[in-house]
Amino acid sequence: MTKPAAAVEFRSVTKRYGPVTAVNAVSFVIDPGTLVTLLGPSGCGKTTTLRLIAGLELASEGQILIGQRDVTKLSAADRDVSMVFQSYALFPHMTVAENVAYGPSVSGTPKAEAQAMAAEKLALVGLSGLEKRLPSELSGGQQQRVAVARALVLEPQVLLFDEPLSNLDAKLRRRVRDDIRELQQKLNLTVAYVTHDQEEALAVSDRIIVMSNAAIAQTGRPRDLYEAPNSVFVADFIGDANLLAAELLTRQGDLGRIRLGGLEITLPHRNVSTGAIRLAVRPESVLLDQRSPPGAIEGRITKAAYLGTHMEYTVASPVGDLFSIDHRTGAPYAVGTTVWITLAAHGAVVVPNA
């Protein structure tokens, strides 16, 4: 890649469609050469954010910078950004080669050179030999790769993906997502990637931007989001979580003593003041035992499901219904069994802004 990767910066960007605010005063920075995922429930403004980067929508307010340059008012054709669409958007009347060569050829590159560039990128995504086919003569996965090759051909500063895998089956999805990540790292691209599949986001991203209701709920590395969500929304959206009412008794340094039912545990208090708090507990941290360890909470299994690699239980307890994952599938608890609940050392976290 000849051009250095560029950063993308949003400064308090707002996008309104009439009365609807699709993106509300959003600010973030995507560092050069990183893959950042926009994650959030349907309608939260992910696609709109992506289209704002591409220039397919112009911001109602705020500033957008790509590689230090203010592009707020530039149209899509003037920005050095490419996009892979959910529907792939391959031109149905052009062959694979013509599709990939489209970018260079409309910007005036001689035909032979444009074709060479196209061939190179097609080789990169492993599609050499299919140049003469029409998009309608390719499989879904192949079409997806043509779309990637077409987006790469101009060696853009920033590459955007809008739910690129949603048309693929589960197996293929995993493979293509790894391919995209590999390509991004090999070519040192700045990538913004929209998905609403949180597992996909955790797997491929350097950083994740979680959106909710047209605003950013939290940004951070995948591990940060999972282990230290700073709101109930994020805790619930990234992975599964049991959200429990608890009480912060005392604060000492970074740590606090917390009472959950009969249990007392020590966790970082994350600047929450003492009193009633919310605790997020990951299901794999809810440990079940038939003997009673000291201070354990008593519960009763109300649902049990066998999922091959693990068991999923719902346990009724004084602190509320708990969702638990247990990897010991050998001798599962039957519904109605009384169990004792403790929490693992990791996987419980105080949620601020509850």
Binding site: R51, A54, G55, L56, E57, L58, K73, L74, S75, A76, A77, R79, V81, S82, M83, F85, Q86, S87, A89, L90, F91, P92, H93, Y102, G103, V106, S107, L134, P135, S136, E137, R150, A151, V153, L154, L160
Partner: protein, 731 residues
């Protein structure tokens, strides 16, 4: 400033400083006389005329151009460019409009100014004025784009500005002229009293026919005819649609042909054929007289004749609308009704018919408007039954030559058609009838109840046979001496019209029809691509872009559909006979007239096709660095081929068959085939008229073939065999 904005500024400069500002009649730049009047005389440029004091009102136009020049010299791109460009374009345009309309070929248009400034006059806009105005409009568009309009897309803003400007100029401005001249007397003085006198005249609104045997007012005549024809065509169209879709009727191909043929038939030809069959000396009349002693009468002239002709001409339109509607009724709804123990008849009455109601209303309104707008049939068959369109015609070309009366009648007619159009737009436009989805609806359409089926056959089959007879007459009529009297085969009519003689200096097109045929083909060939471009461009804006006022924009562009041809003709004479735009008597006015009359079909066809093309294709192209214009050319247009064909064919065919508007606009130099044929009919030369009509039909069939060959198929690959098929754009 972008390169294209700079180019438009330069064009504006050239238009103002170098090109001849005014229209120079009868002079060409090759003649010495032209050079004698350049740059200071009649052929002078705006700059020289304006600053020599000769036409001082052209002077101020220089100011915005100077500002533009300063921007050009300074160069570079700055954020404030947008504001300057907007100012330049707006100021230039506003001043040009003021200066253009303040003075006409006689004097100031406002008497007070003549007293203040002394008498002045000017000719119509020429190349220079036109180029400058266009440049200002485009500079304005680029300025707005630079300020973030339409996602900063200069092409889109320019396209909107262009379409809007053209429609305002060639649809709205002429109509406004009608309104103005309705409140003026024939010398151009303001006289609102006359409007009321003429508007409420007994000949317009009189109801004498109700209580005496005098004639009713022309407005009632027109309205009555239109309602009856609207109902009639809807019923017949429905019968045909039901037969085509809900019975096992064998000869469906024949049905299709019978629906295509009238589209390529000049409307009055049907009237003509009716005369040849049922006129005083018509074929059928003759037979009846000989065999049964039925006296020869003129019964076909009048309401009956016009009604029959319009039924024949417009039923296909109702059929095309209703076949879509009947198709759209999901069979599973009817099946659901039947599983609830409803009989076939009850199902039809309580489920199918109510679902069709919006479609039926739509078909009725179309028939209504077409009947109101029809000019050819009432002209040849009307006799004493006068309708508005013919009355308007005679007010303009007749002995009375009463322009303000024509204007008042036009307003009456326009009120009717716009009312119908508005009703359709407001009431039906938003209501989507159940449409055919891509999902296979596995239900089977319920066959019609027996009673309905017989009713349909009973009305439709005689009608179809009648249509067939009409076309036999059109085909045969040109090859016999006199239909009804003398059936000796002859080529005489064709030789009179289309004779070619071998002379010493090569071939000589001696036939009397050649001139008008060539003109017609030329005008149609020029108008068709332009119509398609304007129509599809508008469709692109409506289907693909978001901008403020889009709904009004859509309404405005579809409006010309509802303006009857006669009204268009009158309004064009009123608007374009005097400066600043003086183009009557030219071929240009014919072309322009066709573009704006036929563009709505291109718009509809374009929108229909474009809404089936995934929008992300455009966006993918944009993010790959292609500008909107390139995107349109390389991505959208190739996928739009079916719509291109539809709008080209329609534009060409309508340009060849139209009669109502152009009959006002033809001149000795630019005569059109239809106007020529109407003239022959009036002179009683039916043989030649019918021969010429057959030739027109053949020419149109050939043209359709050529267009299809030129535009070609779109290539989408084998998996998309079921690519969206364009609905017949017949409406």
């Amino acid at each position: 400033m972008t390169r294209s904005a700079a180019l438009w500024l330069v064009l504006g400069g050239i238009g103002y400083a170098i090109l001849p500002w005014y229209l120079v009649e009868g002079l060409s730049p090759l003649s010495a006389k032209w050079w004698a009047s350049y740059p200071f005389g009649n052929a002078g440029s705006g700059l020289f005329l304006g600053w020599s004091g000769d036409r001082w009102w052209l002077g101020p136009t220089f100011l915005p151009l100077l500002v533009g020049a300063a921007l050009l010299v300074r160069g570079g791109r700055r954020p404030e460019d947008g504001r300057w460009l907007t100012w330049i374009g707006a100021a230039g345009l506003v001043w040009m409009v003021i200066a253009g309309f303040a003075i006409d070929h006689r004097n100031w248009t406002i008497d007070l100014f003549a007293e203040w400034f002394g008498p002045e006059k000017q000719a119509g806009m020429g190349y220079g004025a036109f180029a400058t105005a266009l440049a200002f409009l485009m500079v304005l568009a680029h300025g707005l784009a630079a300020r973030g309009f339409c996602r900063s897309d200069a092409f889109v803003v320019s396209a909107i500005a262009l379409v809007l400007g053209l429609v305002l100029l060639f649809v709205f401005f002429p109509i406004a002229q009608i309104l103005v001249s309705a409140v003026e007397d024939n010398n151009g003085h303001f006289a609102p009293g006359i409007f009321f006198v003429k508007f409420f005249d007994r000949s317009v609104w009189g109801l004498d026919c109700v209580y005496s045997n005098l004639r009713c007012g022309v407005a009632w005549n027109t309205l009555f005819l239109a309602v009856v024809v609207g109902v009639g065509t809807t019923v017949l169209g429905l019968a045909f649609a039901l037969i085509a879709l809900r019975t096992r009727f064998q000869a469906k191909g024949v049905l299709r042909a019978l629906t295509i043929l009238p589209i390529i038939t000049p409307p009055f030809v049907i009237g003509l054929a009716l005369i040849l069959l049922f006129g005083r000396s018509g074929a059928v009349t003759g037979l009846l007289f000989e065999w049964f002693d039925v006296p020869r009468t003129r019964w076909i002239y009048g309401f009956t004749g016009v009604f029959i002709a319009q039924m024949l001409a417009f039923t296909p339109i109702a059929f095309l609308v209703l076949i879509g509607v009947v198709q759209g009724i999901s069979p599973s709804l009817e099946e659901a009704s039947q599983t609830l123990r409803a009989s076939r008849w009850t199902t039809f009455r309580t489920v199918s018919l109510p679902l069709m109601r919006p479609g039926l209303a739509n078909a009725f309104l179309l028939g209504f408007v077409e009947s109101m707008a029809d000019f050819g049939n009432p002209l040849v068959l009307g006799g004493n039954y006068e309708v508005l369109s013919t009355k308007i015609f005679f007010a303009v070309v007749g002995a009375a030559h009463d322009q303000s009366r024509a204007a008042v009648l036009s307003i009456v007619l326009l009120t009717f058609t716009l009312g119908a159009f508005y009703a359709q737009y407001r009431w039906l436009g938003n209501r989507s009838y159940t449409t055919v989805t891509g999902k296979g609806d596995s239900g089977l359409p319920v066959p019609m109840p027996k009673r309905m089926a017989w009713l349909c056959y009973g009305t439709a089959i005689p009608w179809a046979m009648f249509t067939a007879v009409i076309y036999v007459v059109i085909l045969v009529g040109g090859f016999v001496k006199t239909m009804g009297r003398d059936y000796t085969p002859t080529l005489q009519h064709y030789i009179t019209g289309f004779g070619i003689e071998q002379t010493s200096r090569g071939l000589y097109f001696a036939g009397s029809a050649w001139d008008s045929l060539w003109t017609t083909i030329k005008v149609a060939a020029v108008a068709a691509p332009l119509t398609a471009i304007v129509g599809l461009l508008t469709a692109y804006l409506l289907a693909r872009q978001r901008f403020v006022g889009k709904r009004s924009f859509e309404f405005i562009t579809m409006l010309s559909f509802a303006i009857p041809g006669t009204v268009v003709g009158v309004s064009y004479i009123l608007a374009f006979n005097v400066p600043p735009i003086e183009i009557t008597g030219t071929g240009l006015i014919l072309v322009i007239c066709f573009i704006f009359r036929n563009m709505p079909v291109g718009v509809r066809a374009g929108i229909a096709t474009m809404s089936q093309i995934d929008r992300s294709l455009d966006e993918a192209s944009l993010t790959l660095g292609a500008r909107s214009f390139t995107t349109v050319r390389r991505v959208i247009l190739p996928l739009l081929r079916p719509a291109v064909v539809a709008s080209l064919v329609y534009a060409f065919v309508r340009a060849m068959t139209a009669v109502s508007a152009i009959i006002f606009l033809v001149s000795a130099q630019y005569n059109m085939a239809t106007a020529y044929i109407v003239g022959r009919v009036e002179a009683g030369e039916f043989g030649l008229a019918i021969a010429y009509s057959s030739v027109l039909i053949v020419v149109m069939l050939l043209a359709i073939l050529v267009i299809q060959l030129l535009v070609g198929e779109r290539r989408l690959g084998r998996r998309t065999a079921a690519a969206p098929v364009l609905q017949a754009a017949g409406g």
